[in-house]
């Protein structure tokens, strides 16, 4: 079970206080597949960043299974991100100097895994996303859809418990977007917990649970809650 309670995130902009999250509570069991929707600036990415351990809430609690993530220090969060979380970004965020294989290896390097093992695992992950034959290509030598699949392979490298994808198809055309979504569905059906942010109603409709955001608050929550 992953749970956030009364999560708030505020930014001080001069005299004004901006609430990116104004008290969000949400819980979901392992194996869930959530789609988060909402207008721009409603706090979707802010929640994702906190769930991913990239950011800390101003107040509220974050419980990841039995672990209280809100109390981790910088190194603790780094370890948490490395071991528990897989992150997929809208803009792929691949390192341009590295090959597909090396990009996928990166989380395993920070996990202290030996070269031989992580090469094998990276190759395995690339095969899983259908890029076995592109492992020595650099990001600039691949299409957007291929790059995003490399990024997905990277997010899977350390066998995370939670996959976070913030508008993963935002930079892709609709047909490649569909391929990527199919990949997420496949991963979810293999048991991985997936949360994705999307503006695409069709994409959201396919998720088992849909959470709607507005002004830093959850305004709708539909679908399976088991």
């Amino acid at each position: 079970m992953i749970e956030v309670r009364d999560l708030k995130k505020t930014y001080q902009m001069g005299d004004e206080t901006v609430a990116a999250l104004a008290g969000v509570s949400l819980s979901f069991p392992r194996g869930s597949y959530l789609a988060i929707t909402g207008p721009s600036g409603s706090g979707k990415s802010t929640l994702m960043n906190i769930l991913g351990g990239l950011d800390r809430p101003t107040s509220g609690q974050y419980l990841f299974e039995d672990e209280d993530v809100s109390h981790l220090d910088d190194d603790g969060l780094a370890h948490f991100r490395n071991q528990r979380i897989g992150f997929v970004f809208q803009s792929f965020q691949l390192l341009p100097r590295y090959s597909a294989l090396q990009n996928v290896e990166l989380p395993m390097v920070y996990a202290g895994i030996e070269v031989k093992e992580r090469r094998e695992r990276a190759a395995e992950m690339l095969a899983k996303v259908g890029l076995a034959d592109r492992r020595h290509h650099r990001p600039t030598q691949m299409s957007g859809g291929q790059q995003q699949r490399v990024a997905i392979a990277r997010s899977l490298a350390n066998h995370p418990d939670l996959l976070l994808a913030d508008e993963p198809t935002g930079a892709l055309d609709s047909s490649t977007g569909k391929d990527v979504m199919a990949l997420f569905e496949q991963l979810n059906s293999d048991g991985l917990t997936v949360i994705l942010v999307t503006h695409d109603a069709n994409v959201a409709a396919r998720a088992r649970r849909r959470v709607g955001f507005r002004d830093g608050l959850i305004v709708s929550d539909e679908g399976a809650k088991s």
Partner: protein, 409 residues
């Protein structure tokens, strides 16, 4: 995270911009090369002076007319030379612990023998000169006291003179002309080779003091005066006492009152050695300081490029943090990059410095002297430069906020 992976990350970042990396290291290359070359030149100069001084003879005190009164012009005129053969005799008789006293006059003279000419130094000496200057006879013999007193025109020649005038033939017994006077060769000195000052010590003719004074250098040295008195102390322990006693005796003989300056100067080898060592040490420190400044300039260059690299690679840093890099991993990665750049520059600079020192030694017929601490010191220094000047950029990289870093274009 394993340290070899950190090294790999740093190496690949450096290799990604070979030209930029090379230019960044250039400052350190030049700095280290300069330090190595400068210290090697300083040390070479010191060794050269030391071998020159010790080549003069051990436990030696050199008495010469006071510098103030025997400027070049005065000496050339022969008017003011203050020390005499009688002074030398008095020292030999009255000062204890003296192994040899050798009054000397010298000049330059044209030599001739059987149609061959050669220009050489000629010194008018007493037999004790050999003892004072640590010289030995290789062939024939030294002239004796009696021959010297009688003003006999006999000579002992150095091996260079022997070769130039007689080739392979035995010079002993042959006659040579020194200027316009005929001398008979009675002996040949054992070769001493080049002195530390670059002078051929075998290019010399020794004759009895009275004969040389009257026939060769007569116009410049009047009466009983000599240009130098060499005093050899019996042992190193006697050296400073002999110098003091000889100075006191000469002041008495020259009727110099309390408080007046000496009209001669007495120097012993130990003090000359010390003075020259102090001088070359200062010189070396000065050169090294100048070189160290260029090393700092190199460090600033590295810092500059590292700051640029952190800005350029902000997104990379954010991504690394997102996939699990700790702040310390980022810090170490960038610090390693900076140290590697600097160290590579240091290694190259060391090689260039050694090469340059070799070249200078060749060109200046200088002893090749790379101090043993040059390698560890310059490598240690360049590592320290990389660490110090890489610290701030690396720290900046490690303090980045991952979310902001990932958003950066």
């Amino acid at each position: 995270m394993k340290s070899k992976d950190l090294i790999r990350f740093a190496a690949s970042a450096i290799a990604a911009h070979p030209m930029r990396s090379a230019l960044t290291s250039l400052g350190v290359v030049i700095g280290v090369a300069a330090v190595v070359m400068m210290t090697s030149i300083g040390l070479g100069a010191q060794q050269r002076v030391m071998s020159a001084i010790s080549g003069l003879g051990s436990n030696l005190i050199i008495v010469s007319p006071a510098a103030s009164r025997s400027g070049f012009a005065a000496q050339a005129a022969g008017s003011d030379i203050s020390i005499t053969g009688a002074d030398a005799e008095a020292i030999a008789k009255q000062v204890e612990g003296v192994a040899a006293v050798a009054p000397t006059v010298r000049g330059q003279a044209q030599l001739a023998s059987e149609g061959t000419n050669w220009n050489s130094r000629i010194e008018g000496v007493t037999p004790d000169y050999l003892v004072a200057r640590d010289l030995t006879i290789g062939q024939g013999r030294m002239f004796d006291e009696r021959e010297a007193r009688q003003g006999r025109t006999v000579a002992v020649i150095g091996t260079t003179v022997a070769r130039e005038l007689f080739g392979d033939a035995d010079p002993v017994g042959k006659r040579i002309r020194v200027g316009s006077s005929p001398f008979q060769v009675v002996g040949v000195l054992t070769s001493k080779g080049q002195s530390g000052f670059g002078q051929d010590q075998d290019d010399i003719v020794l004759g009895p003091l009275p004969a040389v004074r009257s026939r060769v250098v007569g116009r410049r040295v009047k009466g009983d005066t000599v240009q130098t008195i060499y005093i050899k102390a019996a042992s190193e322990d006697d050296l400073s006492r002999v110098q003091e006693d000889a100075t006191t005796l000469l002041r008495e003989r020259h009727r110099i009152r309390e408080g007046e300056d000496d009209d001669f100067q007495a120097q012993n080898m130990a003090s000359i050695l010390q003075a020259s060592q102090a001088a070359t040490a200062t010189f070396t420190i000065l050169l090294a300081a100048v070189a160290a400044v260029s090393l700092v300039v190199g460090g600033v260059g590295i810092m500059n490029i590292m700051l640029v690299a952190v800005t350029e690679r902000t997104r990379e840093i954010g991504l690394r943090m997102a996939v699990g890099a700790k702040r310390s991993d980022i810090l170490i990665q960038f610090a390693l990059e900076s140290v590697a750049l600097s160290l590579a520059g240091g290694i190259l600079g060391l090689l260039i410095g050694i090469g340059g020192a070799l070249l200078i030694a060749q060109l200046g017929s200088w002893p090749m002297a790379i101090p043993s601490w040059a390698a560890p010191l310059s490598l240690g220094f360049s590592m320290a430069v990389g660490l110090v000047f890489g610290a701030y950029p690396s720290w900046q990289a490690s303090r980045l906020d991952p979310i902001e870093a990932l958003r950066r274009e």
